[in-house]
């Protein structure tokens, strides 16, 4: 298991999750969990995905998702899980 956290922040629009998931499926990245909420009028989505069987490099996924975000008009970040678990779990 090689977990990454994908976050999407921005204005809500049709098909955000669909497009992110389509890209992840193409690259054989398995989605483990999705949650979403609206904070202060902004669409916030967090996705936990498993990078273990991915067919491409982590850097490439980061760049591709960032580009996809720009296209949709939202901000997409892809980070390794450890930065969050280290900070919030003892």
């Amino acid at each position: 298991m090689n977990k990454v956290i994908i976050t999407v922040v921005g204005k809500d629009t049709v098909g955000i999750i669909a497009r992110v998931c389509t890209y992840l499926a193409e690259k054989k990245i398995n989605v483990l969990d999705i949650s979403q909420t609206i904070v202060q009028g902004y669409f916030n989505m967090m996705m936990i995905a498993d990078f273990e069987a991915a067919s491409t490099s982590f850097g490439e996924v980061c760049d591709a998702l960032e580009a996809l975000g720009e296209e949709i008009g939202v901000s997409i970040k892809c980070q390794r899980e450890e930065i969050f678990t280290k900070m919030h779990r003892i």
Binding site: D33, E81, I83, M87, H88
Partner: protein, 454 residues
């Protein structure tokens, strides 16, 4: 499993509160580069640095991308050059060639600073160490990325007042040698008491002789994160205030620990320490002064400043210690004037004086840092300021340091621009009364009584 609010909190810290890892510093021992031939020493130093640190910058960038946290600086510290070059260098000019080699190596591997043009003379100076010290003005004038530090005292040895006197002259000579750039050379020169062997922060970083062949030390930052956390604790009592600082420091330090372990693993070099410091930058919202003001001071320098800083410093350590397996370096709140917008504002308003800054250094790391003073300040006065600061370190068993910039050609009312992370500073007044007869006595101030603990 992680919840969304934790993820949002972390990303807000990074995106809006300027959480970053300030530096990954690779310490490299150059003791095996000693040789009696100067050319051979230079060749060995260049080769060792460029071999060990060749992937430092790219690895730092990869880690920053993987975790989505900025790593601002990638730097190198080396064994004090007075030890490495002692056998080959017969004059200050010989030492300057080593500074140039360090500069070339730093540029080759892409780091922005390389520290360790240093001498540890807390009790006495060898001829080589004196030559190195005398070479500092020229070395810092002809190089761009080399940083120099001199340790002139310690709790165990007392203060080497001959070195203190000499360093007053050297600080002034460095200012003169770099006067075309607003005496910028002095921003790369630190005079220490109780200098730590594993400090990752410039300009005072060097790789102590107690260290391994190579080591990774990491300096974290995050004044902005503490400031924002404290905004939510407005009007609360000290218990709540302290808990908030500790929890925030823990979170910040965990990021540093993660980055340090990852860098150590990827570079194949052991992890040394995390330096738990609140290191400000000139950017608004990245200021230690703003934290103190959030705690309840109208301006930094107001009565209560020293107490507020003492509390802040202690809570940062208490929160940070549990977050990391090894802590070291300077560890505490930095209070550089030119690198902190809140400090600059307080000085401009007359709220913060040199004397108050000196008092503040009793309770935090590190010392009188990045303070511009008039260019016509006598060398003996600078030595006196160094002696005062070193005495605070010696008696309180803590690291203290002086990084003063006597700006040649400028006086009160002028402002100096250093650029980048070094910021800008209004020239501060210095007490006009002389300490020449004190400074020129010569010899040593003995170690304090409480240093005899054996």
């Amino acid at each position: 499993m992680l919840n969304m609010f934790e993820v949002i909190e972390t990303n807000n810290m990074i995106e809006h509160e300027k959480l970053d890892v300030r530096t990954i510093t690779m310490g490299i021992s150059l003791l095996d580069c000693c040789d009696s031939d100067l050319t051979a020493v230079n060749d060995k130093i260049y080769k060792k640095i460029t071999t060990y640190a060749k992937d430092l910058v790219s690895t730092g960038e990869e880690i920053a991308r993987d975790f989505g946290v900025p790593i601002v600086n990638k730097r190198i510290s080396v064994t004090p050059i007075a030890l490495v070059g002692g056998c080959a260098c017969k004059s200050p000019e010989d030492f300057v060639t080593i500074a140039q080699t360090m500069d070339r190596a730093a540029k080759e591997v892409g780091v922005n600073f390389i520290g360790g043009y240093s001498a540890l003379v807390s009790k006495g100076m060898t001829p080589a160490e004196e030559n190195l010290i005398r070479s500092i003005p020229q070395a810092l004038a002809v190089t761009e990325r080399v940083c120099s530090s001199i340790n002139v005292g310690s709790t165990k040895t007392g203060l080497n007042m001959d070195a203190v006197k000499l360093m007053g002259e050297i600080v002034l000579a460095t200012a003169e040698a770099t006067k075309e750039d607003d005496s910028l050379g002095c921003a790369k020169l630190v005079v220490f008491c109780n200098a730590p062997d594993d400090n990752p922060f410039m300009a005072g970083a060097f790789h102590g002789v107690t260290e391994a062949d190579a080591i990774i030390n990491v300096g974290v930052s995050g004044p902005g994160v503490v400031k924002v956390a404290l905004e939510k604790a407005r009007g609360e009592n000290f218990e709540v205030l302290c808990e908030t600082i500790k929890k925030t420091a823990f979170k910040i330090t965990r990021v540093g620990q993660l980055v340090a372990q990852e860098a150590s693993k990827r570079l194949g070099i052991p992890f040394g320490i995390i330096d738990l410091s609140l290191a400000p930058t000139p950017a608004v919202g990245d200021s230690v002064a703003e934290i103190l003001e959030e705690i309840g001071l109208e301006r930094v320098g107001a009565p209560g400043t020293t107490a507020a800083l003492a509390m802040l410093n202690d809570q940062v350590k208490k929160g940070g210690v549990m977050a990391s397996s090894y802590v070291g370096g300077l560890s505490g709140a930095f209070i550089p004037v030119s690198e902190d917008q809140g400090m600059i504002d307080a000085v401009s308003l007359g709220a913060l004086t040199l004397e108050k800054l000196e008092a503040m250094t009793c309770v935090c790391s590190v010392g009188l840092d990045m303070i511009a003073i008039p260019g016509d300040t006598p060398a003996t006065t600078i030595s006196g300021i160094i002696a005062d600061e070193a005495a605070i370190g010696m008696i309180n068993q803590k690291t203290t340091a002086v990084r003063l910039i006597p700006v040649i050609g400028k006086g009160l009312g002028d402002t100096v621009e250093f650029g980048g992370l070094l910021g800008y500073a209004p020239v501060m007044p210095v007490n006009p009364y002389s300490c020449e007869k004190f400074v020129t006595r010569g010899g040593r101030i003995p170690a304090p009584i409480h240093s005899f603990k054996n």
